[in-house]
């Protein structure tokens, strides 16, 4: 994939994409012979908003370079916390995403399921807190930046 960052070859994969994300591709990619568990998280556009409107789509905006370098840091921190993990993939969509569409996918494999769940939850929480990404809510006749804004946190403090 053009623009995606594969770190340790075949083990870590981060990507900021303006094309639709494929949880199926990430789940298959993360499946490893030594791993018995794959946990895949999809963030999807839901119809309720921070601004009280019926959401029809979201629009994500960032610097791809800065976002991917932060994703690399987040994945690296997960590796140091769970050395037994198999593969880690984190893909984030940018641009407009319709209701029901996928905005972010995390896929993690591990020999045993407990670590895969823990790491997937850590990864999505840390992506939301630490990666520069601005979300605009779009409804019939209007749009606004999400009102749930908070400062970008450092990866090490998560």
């Amino acid at each position: 994939m053009v623009g995606s960052v594969k770190l340790a070859p075949n083990h870590d994969w981060v990507f900021v994409s303006s094309s639709p994300l494929s949880p199926d591709e990430l789940t298959k990619w993360a499946t490893r012979p030594q791993c018995g568990a794959v946990v895949t998280f999809c963030g999807t556009v839901r119809n309720t908003s921070t601004t009280g409107h019926d959401i029809t789509s979201l629009e994500y905006e960032t610097s791809t370079e800065l976002a991917e370098s932060r994703l690399v840091a987040v994945v690296g921190e997960a590796r140091s916390r769970w050395p037994e993990l198999g593969a880690i993939a984190v893909h984030h969509r940018i641009g407009p995403v319709e209701l029901g569409g996928i905005t972010v996918v995390v896929a993690v494999s591990s020999p045993h399921r407990h670590e895969a769940f823990e790491a997937a939850k850590y990864l999505i929480d840390t992506v939301k807190n630490c990666v520069p990404m601005w979300k605009r809510e779009v409804w019939q006749g209007g749009s606004a930046w999400s009102e749930e804004a908070h400062s970008i946190e450092s990866v090490q403090k998560q």
């Binding site: 921070t50 610097s63 800065l66 601005w134 930046w145 804004a149 400062s151 970008i152």
Partner: protein, 78 residues
């Protein structure tokens, strides 16, 4: 001239995704950006983080022509 990257609400307030400004510290460069973009941008800048080449930076940090300053308002990933 130092390149300044303006993201999300900072881009919207400035009306531009990036600009080039004189100045030998982060603060001096950004003051020149405020002069060009005006009060809406200044308001967003006040609550933003500043990164230089991908790392958190302070107002007094010295800056060269190959550095890139990024203005990162609060995010809304929640």
């Amino acid at each position: 001239m130092t390149r300044v990257l303006l993201l999300g609400p900072a881009r919207e307030a400035a009306g531009a995704g990036h600009g080039e400004f004189d100045g030998d510290t982060v603060g001096a460069v950004l003051q020149n950006a405020v002069t060009r973009y005006g009060v809406d941008f200044e308001r967003v800048l006040a609550v933003s983080q500043i990164w230089v080449n991908g790392n958190a930076a302070e107002s007094g940090d010295h800056i060269g022509p190959y550095d890139e300053i990024a203005v990162l308002p609060p995010i809304s990933g929640g």
